[in-house]
């Protein structure tokens, strides 16, 4: 008679994966809601299409693998990936951008590596960068702020999403970063190149940008809530933001005409979203506190470098992907110090007083 032994701990489970995913989605909701509010029905349609296609592709891949789909769909990771992809897309992008983004994120960014927990690169950033390089026009067409009930109606928005914009520039324009980059290429200097930039509006999110990335304050709030709940640790957001602020302060002080001020950096592009929701992705960031600090600092550095001297106005996607590639290296070399040993693994030597 062989008894199957049961190992401890003999306690009820206190944390679950779907719980964590749900908390992240909840933290993202205010910024998403504002995005829909600011950009109207087309934004909502794009959001729904992206999330639904993310779930569809996940179910499809699981079917191919021969695994039961429902438990995996229920854990919320596909919904979260779809939501994050949607948030990085231009709000009035056509429907196929959303579908392509979800496909790249789920299939290429997650499932081919083996599913949840096995991917090297952040799926949402992978999707964004792939789309940016493949469809630069659609990915850099930024709609003006047209609040929900003032812009195109329900039916007109359907046309917008499904047949694309009809080339009227009156409804689109450049983001802050894009404007400044173009200005520099025409030998303009700051602060003139900023045009009619308003720091306050940028902070609350009333500006052109991706669907969910515009509102610094709502994303910051969501991120702090996640910190409070223990879903993310402080190391990556803090090191990332501090590095960007530090570098931008130094360079802005040295040459204010060619380098944006820290405040502008903080409130533009995807910085807040990346700091709290993208770079902190469990699977693709290091496991140890020190490793996370290095990762965050590296992201911050690359973001600043690409924004200031790179070809693209926004550098967060590339920065995150590059640091994701370095994560296994960080994990290999940075390990916690084990009790009773030195950092190099040798036992403590107490024979010398």
């Amino acid at each position: 008679m062989s008894i199957k032994p049961v190992s401890g701990p003999h306690v009820a489970a206190v944390r679950r994966v779907d719980q964590i995913m749900r908390q992240v989605i909840v933290a993202l909701t205010p910024a998403t809601a504002l995005g829909v509010l600011l950009f109207g029905w087309p934004a909502l349609y794009l959001l729904v299409i992206t999330v639904l296609s993310a779930m569809l592709f996940e179910a499809f891949c699981l079917k191919l693998k021969g695994a039961a789909a429902t438990p995996y769909l229920r854990d919320g990771s596909a919904i979260l990936t779809g939501l994050l992809v949607a948030m990085t897309l231009p709000p009035w992008a056509p429907w196929w951008i959303g579908v392509a983004g979800s496909a790249i994120a789920i299939v290429l960014g997650k499932q081919v590596y083996g599913g949840l927990g096995q991917n090297v690169f952040n799926p949402a950033m992978l999707a964004r960068v792939a789309l940016l390089i493949s469809f630069p026009i659609e990915m850099t067409t930024w709609a003006n702020v047209t609040p929900l009930f003032t812009g195109p109606g329900l039916i007109d928005s359907l046309t917008l999403t499904f047949s694309g914009l009809d080339g009227t520039d009156a409804v689109t324009g450049a983001t802050t970063l894009g404007l400044v980059k173009t200005g520099f290429s025409q030998s303009q200097t700051l602060p003139g190149a900023l045009g009619d930039y308003s720091g306050f509006l940028a902070m609350i999110g009333w500006e052109r940008g991706s669907l969910g990335e515009t509102s610094t304050v709502l994303l910051l709030g969501g991120g702090l809530w996640l910190l409070r709940k223990g879903v993310i640790q402080w190391h990556i957001p803090v090191s990332l933001l501090v590095t960007v602020l530090l570098l931008s302060s130094i360079f802005h002080f040295w040459d204010g005409g060619h380098y944006l001020s820290p405040w502008v950096h903080l409130n533009s592009g995807a910085l807040m979203l990346v700091a709290f929701f993208i770079a902190t992705d469990y699977v693709t960031s290091p496991n140890t506190p020190l490793g996370q600090l290095i990762f965050g600092a590296g992201c911050g550095l690359l973001i600043f470098v690409i924004r200031s001297w790179g070809g693209y106005p926004e550098g967060t996607g590339f920065a995150v992907l590059l640091m994701n590639a370095v994560t296994p290296l960080i994990d290999h070399y940075i390990r916690p110090r084990i009790y009773g040993r030195y950092r190099n693994g040798k036992p403590l030597d107490i024979s010398n007083p």
């Binding site: 003999h10 944390r15 469990y282 040993r341």
Partner: protein, 501 residues
């Protein structure tokens, strides 16, 4: 700054629901009815099993020796009450496998007749070696659950000239309150035991460390220690596994024990607080270790409480005394819920290591399906030792044990904090226990390999010797034949010569 990040005095750990209120407020039950039969295993300690000296039919008195210790690391076993030996056989052990262990079975006679003993006039005038030897003779072992023979540790402490005795009263496991109640009710006796231990090790001072969720016990111990300057009582934060001696030592003294060393390397010896009480009984009352306080708790227990039970009582009887609802009991655990063992049957005896019997109901152990690791590194944050549980588990899953050892598998204390926090419900500590077992198996296999090579060498040498001897023998026989033939020929020749003369 790095030091702050990676080397705090208190690292990792978890804060689970304590479930101590159910049992910490009531006194230890002293009215547990004497069982009809007692089952006393001869191995209730670390080291070699004890060797029985009694046989079937013998009548024994309470406190009489049943089995003597074998070798240096061992402990004797005594009769918990008077009665007759009805069997000495293999009986299921309180172990997750329920494999048998040699057990002495006593039929109790209800008389509770003590063996005549001679408590010392003044225990505090005994020689240190005498104290240690009496502690050993009384079968006292570590009652925190590790059951290491206490006399061996005391002797070690004296040889190493330690400077501090740490009394571990952490009791960090949820549900368990036996040490808490012991301190609340018998603080003076515990302090006497501590003083005896200090004398036995010739150590200058002692610190009693307890978690700050035991304020009443703290005050009781403080009151009992007031007149002794060299014994102090300290509170430590309540955080599992604070009772891990190395964690408590680092918190109280700031020093770490080297990974390949023991507490004596930094001049400290650690003993559990219940062990101190057992030492008091062994020396001052000349009573061997024959009973212990057990916390009986859990969702399926009707009257959760602490009970003093004789060693060898079947757990089913203890549970019945506390009103267990067998239908509600989904799992029986010996010890605490984090590191305790799940027992498949309840008709196994209470042994010296058993500090808790938990009859847990379904919702107390409910666990969802195991999912893929999401690399959240909550386990890294929770690990008190500073390991990387997620990496070790993924290596063990792929049977790469050497990589797992590289990551620090040998330093794992199996506290279960990592499994507790894992959102994917991966049985991390089970992987590590499995891997440790595999390492032992491999070590034994290597050992066997060496032994095999040696045996084969011996055999080959033996065959070689036999062959050489056979050849030498054959050579000698040939020479002898040749010599005889020559001698015969010479004799014949001689005879011929004589004849012709």
């Amino acid at each position: 700054m790095l030091a702050f990040l990676e080397n705090p005095r208190l690292r990792g750990g978890i804060h689970a629901e304590e479930h101590k209120q159910e049992t910490s407020g009531q006194p230890i039950a002293a009215d547990f009815p004497l069982p009809k039969k007692l089952f006393i295993p001869v191995q209730q300690h670390v080291g070699k099993p004890a060797e029985p000296v009694v046989k079937v039919g013998d009548k024994v008195l309470k406190g009489q020796l049943l089995a003597y210790s074998q070798g240096t690391i061992s402990a004797p076993v005594h009769a918990p009450t008077s009665g007759t030996i009805i069997d000495v056989k293999d009986y299921p052990a309180p172990h997750p496998s329920a494999l048998p262990v040699r057990t002495v079975i006593i039929e109790t006679d209800g008389q509770e007749q003590w063996l005549k003993s001679f408590p010392p006039e003044d225990p505090f005038l005994l020689d240190p070696e005498e104290i240690c030897s009496r502690v050993g003779g009384a079968g006292v072992v570590g009652l925190g659950g590790a059951v290491f023979p206490s006399a061996v540790k005391l002797n070690l402490g004296r040889k190493n000239q330690i400077h501090t005795l740490l009394i571990n009263a952490g009791e960090c496991e949820p549900y368990l309150t036996c040490d808490d109640r012991l301190m609340q009710e018998r603080a003076e006796e515990i302090v006497a035991g501590i003083r005896l231990m200090l004398r036995g090790m010739q150590a200058p001072k002692a610190i009693v460390g307890l978690e700050d969720n035991k304020p009443v016990a703290f005050r009781a111990m403080q009151a009992a220690c007031r007149e002794f300057d060299n014994i102090s009582v300290e509170q430590v934060p309540t955080r599992y596994p604070m009772g891990w001696d190395r964690q408590m030592l680092r918190y109280l003294t700031g020093q770490e024990i080297p990974a390949d060393g023991r507490a004596t390397d930094i001049g400290v010896v650690v003993h559990n607080v219940a062990t101190a009480h057992a030492v008091y009984k062994a020396i001052c009352l000349a009573q061997p270790l024959i009973s212990r306080v057990v916390t009986v708790s859990g969702g399926a227990v009707g009257k959760p409480q602490n009970v003093e039970v004789p060693i060898g009582t079947l757990m089913s009887e203890v549970l019945a005394f506390c009103g267990v609802d067998k239908a509600k009991m989904a799992r029986l655990v010996m010890g605490g819920p984090m590191m305790g063992d799940a027992l498949p049957i309840s008709e196994v005896p209470v042994v010296k290591a058993c500090n808790g019997i938990l009859a847990l109901s379904r919702d107390e152990i409910e666990e969802p399906e195991v999912q893929a690791c999401i690399r959240c590194s909550s386990c890294v944050t929770a690990c008190p030792v500073g390991l990387l549980p997620l990496e070790m588990a993924s290596r063990i899953k792929a049977n790469q044990l050497d990589s797992a050892v590289d990551l620090g598998l040998k330093d794992c204390i199996s506290c279960g904090s990592c499994s507790y926090v894992c959102p994917s419900n991966i049985p991390l500590v089970h992987y590590f226990k499995f891997a440790s077992g595999e390492l032992v198996k491999r070590q034994q296999a290597e050992h066997k390999s060496e032994q095999t090579k040696r045996l084969m060498n011996d055999r080959n040498q033996r065959m070689e010797r036999a062959r050489l001897e056979a050849e030498a023998e054959a050579l000698r026989a040939q020479e002898a034949r040749a010599a005889r033939a020559a001698a015969q020929a010479a004799a014949q020749q001689q005879a011929k010569v004589e004849e012709s003369v």
